[in-house]
């Protein structure tokens, strides 16, 4: 009936798919990872590689452990006393969970943007300056702040009110502020845990455009509920699902399929992926 056929997710994904996937440098190599909260295994048997200067998306239904998984990359799970991570996360070949690795140093290299914008109750300037300040990067602080806001496409909107509270910004602006805050410490990787799920469509588009920009300089990992979003921004997509124990009891997240986004949304190898991306499940 409609005159314009909506694009399929596969078409969206193919639009930005590079014909030849270049041989990319591996940033993270995850080997047989599992995370448990006390006796409750949230996710298990995950192995995948995250590539440099690419956007990698984790999709899947609620409870599939994708948020738990992304928090392994910057050791945020360490903050939950009952969480136990087993397996390896190699970052440029080095095990992030080795004894001599300081989680504080990990988080300085691997930034994170959260689901709900969480600006500090301080001025816009102080929000961006917080990271450099705690890391002792105090020279040219104003330049750092400006550069971070520029790269997060927020500078023009806030340059005249840097001293005002960040809480006065709109939700979309707050989220870009959080991205800028993360960029100010010059990370290598940016993790985004459903960064646009609390935002309106226009703000979402801006965040997505930003991801396309940022992947030139950074490696981006994103968790998203929104398959359209994965299709639009991600180069690689991992589909997670929930494995229910045979007795119907314990639910554990598992990695079903990981491939180029265009492949996941056009010709997935696994029936469960196909059911999910075509909307038959989840």
């Amino acid at each position: 009936m409609s005159s314009i056929e909506p694009m399929t997710l596969g078409q969206i994904a193919q639009e930005h798919d590079e014909v030849e996937t270049p041989k990319r440098e591996v940033v993270f190599a995850v080997e047989d990872l599992a995370v448990a909260y006390a006796s409750n295994v949230a996710i298990r048997e995950v192995s995948l590689e995250v590539y440099k200067n690419a956007v990698t998306a984790f999709i899947g239904p609620s409870g599939c452990g994708k948020s738990t998984f992304i928090r392994c990359f910057n050791r945020m799970n360490d903050l939950v006393p009952s969480a136990k991570v087993t397996g390896n996360v190699l970052y440029h070949g080095k095990d992030l969970y080795a004894d001599e690795v300081d989680p504080v140093e990990v988080r300085r290299r691997i930034g994170m943007v959260f689901q709900k914008p969480n600006p500090f109750p301080k001025s816009i300037y102080d929000n961006i300056a917080f990271g450099p300040r705690v890391l002792g990067l105090k020279d040219n602080l104003s330049d750092r702040v400006e550069s971070a806001l520029q790269r997060a496409a927020l500078w023009d909107e806030v340059k005249d009110r840097l001293k005002e509270s960040a809480l006065g910004l709109s939700g979309g602006q707050q989220q870009r502020l959080c991205i800028a805050r993360c960029l100010a410490v010059e990370p290598d990787v940016i993790l985004m845990d459903e960064p646009a799920s609390a935002l309106d469509p226009i703000s979402t588009t801006r965040i997505e455009d930003l991801m396309h920009e940022l992947k030139r300089e950074y490696t981006i990992v994103i968790v998203t509920h929104n398959m359209q979003q994965a299709a639009r921004v991600a180069d690689m997509t991992a589909f997670f699902s929930v494995d229910v124990a045979p007795d119907g009891g314990k639910r554990t997240g598992i990695l079903v399929e990981y491939d180029r986004t265009s492949k996941i949304f056009t010709t997935p190898a696994d029936k469960r992926t196909e059911d999910y991306v075509t909307g038959r499940f989840g």
């Binding site: 903050l79 504080v104 930034g111 994170m112 109750p121 917080f130 890391l135 509270s165 959080c178």
Partner: protein
């Protein structure tokens, strides 16, 4: 149907308003009565003279000074200890450990211990035990212990009210736990901590029983020192009231006005701090 619902709503509002009036009117009546009696005696003599058997030249200067000293010492002791305890319990303590749970229960129970018991404790351990004697410092210390649980509980609530997303945001930028606590959690909790500390201070300054027990004397004609004998405004008020001449009742009312003025000044200062930190957000 709609009428009866509106009626119910109106009735409920009326009940709420009446409840408010009980407290408010009591306070107003009290204030009017005290000011009526006390204002004529609220003069330089009251503020600058020591007590005397002659109501015309009697004042409450030593007691006023002592109350100010005690208040200042109390704050200087209770805020650092209380806030540090609250930070430990909220940010560092592993709540699955039995000793941390024991600490928590203990603190909650301490808040319910009658003040006279603290007085006995002070007499036994401070005045006699470590031989401090019946001095102002001992009074301030015992009042510190008395209001410490209140400050801890208020500070914990203020710290707990800081959303976890703020902490996570700090950690995600490579901040250490101490940096997150000192630069994000504490500044955000200061309004609540200030309010709690002021309430605690007000309670401490108004206390009489533990001070009497550790030997705050009722008749002191010289200015108090930290390591000397002392009295305090509530005790002075009580001793004025016990004297037979009617004028001393009015002098007591005037002293009550002074006590109120000190408390209100302190409260105003706390509100000022609170607003200042709010504005800088």
């Amino acid at each position: 149907m709609r009428m009866s619902r509106a009626l119910k709503g109106g009735l409920f509002k009326g009940v709420l308003f009446l409840s408010l009036l009980v407290g408010f009117l009591t306070l107003v009546v009290l204030l009017v009565d005290v000011f009526n009696d006390g204002l004529p005696f609220l003069d330089r003599t009251l503020l600058t003279s020591p007590p005397s058997g002659d109501p015309d030249i009697a004042g409450a200067r030593p007691a006023i000074l002592a109350t100010i000293y005690i208040g200042a010492l109390l704050l200087a002791f209770v805020v650092p200890i209380g806030v540090a305890t609250a930070i430990y319990l909220e940010e560092y303590a592993n709540k699955t450990r039995w000793y941390n749970r024991l600490l928590e229960i203990n603190i909650q129970n301490l808040a319910a211990v009658p003040s006279i018991v603290y007085g006995i404790l002070g007499l036994a351990f401070l005045v006699r035990g470590i031989g401090l004697g019946r001095v102002l410092l001992a009074g301030a210390m015992i009042l510190t212990l008395l209001v410490l649980p209140t400050v801890i509980i208020a500070a914990r609530e203020a710290i707990r009210a800081v959303p976890d997303s703020i902490r996570q945001g700090g950690y995600a930028l490579g901040a250490t736990q101490w940096q997150v606590v000192s630069r994000q959690v504490l500044p955000a909790a200061i309004p609540g901590i200030a309010t709690g500390s002021i309430l605690a201070l007000s309670r401490g300054i108004g206390e009489t029983a533990p001070l009497i027990l550790i030997g705050a004397v009722t008749y002191i004609s010289f200015d108090p020192t930290i390591l000397g004998p002392f009295t305090a405004l509530p005790i002075q008020i009580y001793s004025f009231l016990r004297l037979p001449q009617a004028e001393f009742k009015l002098l007591a009312a005037a002293s009550i006005i002074v006590l109120l003025a000190i408390l209100l000044t302190l409260n105003a200062f706390a509100i000022f701090i609170r607003n200042r930190y709010r504005r800088s957000w």
